[in-house]
Symmetry: C2
Subunit: 497 residues, 2 copies
């Protein structure tokens, strides 16, 4: 059956077992693997590599698009295969290895990894391992449910291993748009001018001689772990939709808004769900991962087009969407993450970016990554590509965590991923703060009035009043700036008394 998928017959003799293919990967190598938000990762070769490491220890630098599914980061971390990992991950076992210093994790803006590789500031990539639906007659690689960094990995690597996944729908062919920016300093403009611009090829063009092995697989992508909306996430969505409707009333936006980006996860997905109950129409997405909400918005007739770098769905939504993927195909594009997140395109299209904060502070600085200021959660992902360069940058979070003992709104964030310059709108279930055009002292008043949970409001106001007495553009009581975090570490709660 794979011969229908490997359409260049000269490549049939390169079909091999995952174990044999994995032997191309040697100790000390840098390996680029497909996979973005648990979609379209190479599945068999990394498993074979972890298996081999039990008896034949080896360490590699692993670069992907973003997070891997099928517990691959867990398996590789527990097999001690990873010496260095970039640019994103979401796995608890790998997270432990990162936080204890076993794995050197390089937390990067998702648009930037391949720029660094291309200019040899990192790398080079020795072997690329790419999941594909098919190999074309010319030897082009047709990715599956994600593009991520796969195209540049395959183009830059010395050797390429292709995993042909027979369980991935052949309807995916034609959905991808592979465009690689030209070399600098003579680069020409990226010709994407609307979310639906098709500017490249439907496959990754490489010299088929570089394809060193082809492995046939059948394992499905992991399902999304996104939770359904709850009262709080519905509250967040409600505040944001009200705000956007008010922007329309004020003549700043039309009912088609601007192209939308939403970060991965439960809250961003819930916010997108919230758009179902608004008067907005003819919406477009120019985002990274397309989640359940994208297809709900299509089905409701709200969304005209969605461009992303991957599709990651719940089991139910997958079973609903993939059998009729052809119905959606003319309204979907999957791009390299360098293009889905490219500063040039994000600024040109005027994206409204909606991303999740771990915590934010009085002045609108956002921590997306570090628990307690020190321990990595997942990584910054693409949020910085959108927050810095878009039309409007929105951060959402529930106002508390850990049963109300932890406030997500703090005097000073314990780690800064997005600073006040890049944060326009903050939303919790308590309310929304519109920080545009405001100075820090004005921002603080709005955050206290609208975003912090009532349990923590007096405590936050007290801090701010005492900070204000010391003066400054951005008032702080520096020796107390992290008192809430140290109290949490010592007592399990940020609450005073």
């Amino acid at each position: 059956m794979y011969k229908e998928r490997v359409r260049n017959a000269a490549l049939w003799d390169r079909v091999s077992s995952a174990e044999d293919a994995a032997k191309l990967i040697k100790d000390g190598m840098t390996v680029g693997m497909s996979g973005f938000t648990r979609a379209g990762e190479a599945k068999a070769v990394p498993m074979a590599l972890a298996e081999r490491a039990r008896t034949d220890p080896l360490k590699i630098t692993l670069i992907t698009g973003a997070s891997l599914g099928n517990d691959l980061d867990k398996t590789l971390a527990e097999a001690h295969v990873l010496s260095r990992r970039m640019p994103f991950q979401v796995d608890p076992a790998l997270r432990r290895a990162i936080n204890n210093g076993e794995v050197m994790f390089v937390d990067q803006h998702l648009s930037e990894t391949v720029e660094l590789l291309r200019t040899r500031q990192i790398g080079p990539v020795d072997v690329a391992v790419i999941e594909a639906v098919a190999i074309t007659e010319q030897g082009g690689i047709v990715p599956t449910t994600s593009v991520g960094n796969s195209a540049s990995f395959a183009i830059l690597a010395e050797k390429v291993i292709v995993e042909i996944n027979l369980s991935q729908s052949d309807q995916l062919e034609g959905i991808h748009d592979i465009y690689i920016p030209s070399h600098r300093p003579m680069r020409t403009p990226i010709p994407v001018v609307t979310p639906e611009s098709r500017v490249g090829l439907p496959f990754i063009p490489i010299d088929p001689d570089k394809i060193a092995a082809i492995v046939i697989t059948e394992k499905l992508d992991s399902s999304s772990t996104v939770l359904p909306p709850d009262d709080e996430t519905r509250g967040i969505a409600g505040h944001l939709c009200d705000f956007l409707q008010n922007e329309v009333k004020r003549g700043r936006l039309t009912n088609s808004l601007q192209p939308l980006q939403a970060g991965i996860g439960t809250i961003a997905n819930a916010v997108m769900h919230g758009l179902l109950d608004t008067p907005f129409h003819n919406l477009k997405m120019y985002s990274e991962v397309l989640q359940d909400s994208t297809f709900d918005l299509f089905d409701a007739g709200k969304l005209d087009f969605a461009s992303g770098s991957s599709i990651t769905l719940s089991k139910e939504k997958y079973d609903d969407v993939f059998p009729r993927l052809s119905d959606y195909k003319s309204r979907l594009i999957l791009r390299p993450q360098e293009v889905s997140n490219h500063p040039e395109v994000v600024r040109r299209l005027g994206i409204i970016g909606i991303n999740t904060a771990l915590e934010f502070d009085l002045y609108g600085n956002v921590n997306s990554t570090h628990v307690g200021g020190t321990h990595m959660m997942n990584g910054i992902g693409g949020s910085g590509d959108f927050a810095r360069n878009g039309y409007m940058s929105i951060f959402v979070t529930k106002s508390t965590a850990k049963g109300g003992l932890v406030s997500s709104v703090v005097p000073m964030v314990s780690h800064v991923d997005h600073n006040e310059h890049d944060v326009d709108i903050l939303v919790t279930e308590c309310g929304l703060a519109d920080l545009r055009g405001l100075a820090p002292r004005e921002r603080a008043e709005l955050v206290i009035a609208h975003c912090v949970h009532p349990t923590f409001r007096d405590q936050l106001r007290d801090y701010y009043q005492r900070a204000l007495a010391r003066g400054g553009h951005t008032p702080h009581v520096m020796e107390e700036a992290f008192a809430w975090h140290t109290r949490l570490a010592q007592t399990g709660s940020m609450l005073e008394d």
Copy 2:
């Protein structure tokens, strides 16, 4: 004499005194004024406004390109004319008013202000006051030594006041390239593909009916306050030039490097001076402000072309350059700061950005703006436009300040303007840390080994070792993270004991 400069005779009857022109500015208005890095600011009308405020108090929101010369920010702040100011300033009196909460200062990425105005997320601009060399036959405004945000102010404002400055060289006409990005979401690519791309008009095109008053002036721009290189800034330049030469040896760069951006000020200017003694050649700049070093590099035959948004020179250099400006004219472009700093162009050209830090930390986070975490110095300026989007982001600073009592390399920066994701190379006179592709723990080792002053090295290493014992991706002793800053506030020194 002004009639040669105001070439549209229908406008001659609009010539008026600065006092009369200033009457167009009313209490509560938003005013956009020309001026960028003390170059090309409107001079007479703001002075008249400050004078009037003595007897007729008024408050305005003042938006400029960047900093103003001729003590205008001082005069306006002391006359209590400013209720809100954006996006940048450098004046001690205004700084005091910002830090005591009298003036609401909005510290913005310099490329973004006019995007916010254009989409009415801030503003609108009621009156624009623009210094010009001339008004063309069609009523186009020819700016002087800076473009800054002048073009969009004039296009967006209801009324425009033009200050024709007879002392500004008429040789400036033809040096400007006024290109305004089209409206989103239907924006087309900005056609700048090299520093020397000319893509717009040599004047600001507006309806001449909007020109409500023309004021004739003769006052010169203020001279640059940049100090000549000293041992420490020469040391910084030396480390950086060695590093860049090594990048050439490794085949990552050619001897023409990539287009260069250098922030305003003594250190960045000294670094550019350092290029005089290197084998680099056929260099190009794509920067904001063109300082003395730009013309020294031209004269030495090192620099082929320079694109910026302003020219700010010392008295000596001004007297040397301006009488023979025509010699340089074919190698210079002045652009709107939206274009000189545009993420699209910065990424496309692959800029090497060199900017100054107030302080940086173990992990490569940079504070560019806040003294002691609370008090505004100048503002982030354009550094974020370049650091986020360029080919390589370099930050420079002397390792100590205040006679050695303050370390510029600290456990945790007291304010974050540029985080680890945006900082590739750190340089002090002690040495250089190349942070590319490294995890935080690896970054810390390099910063301790190469950047911190020997006086503070043991103290910093001690902090890091104790942080490391607590684990985490980015180890910290959170309750001590600002201990150096609080010690400084209490004792006048960051040194222990």
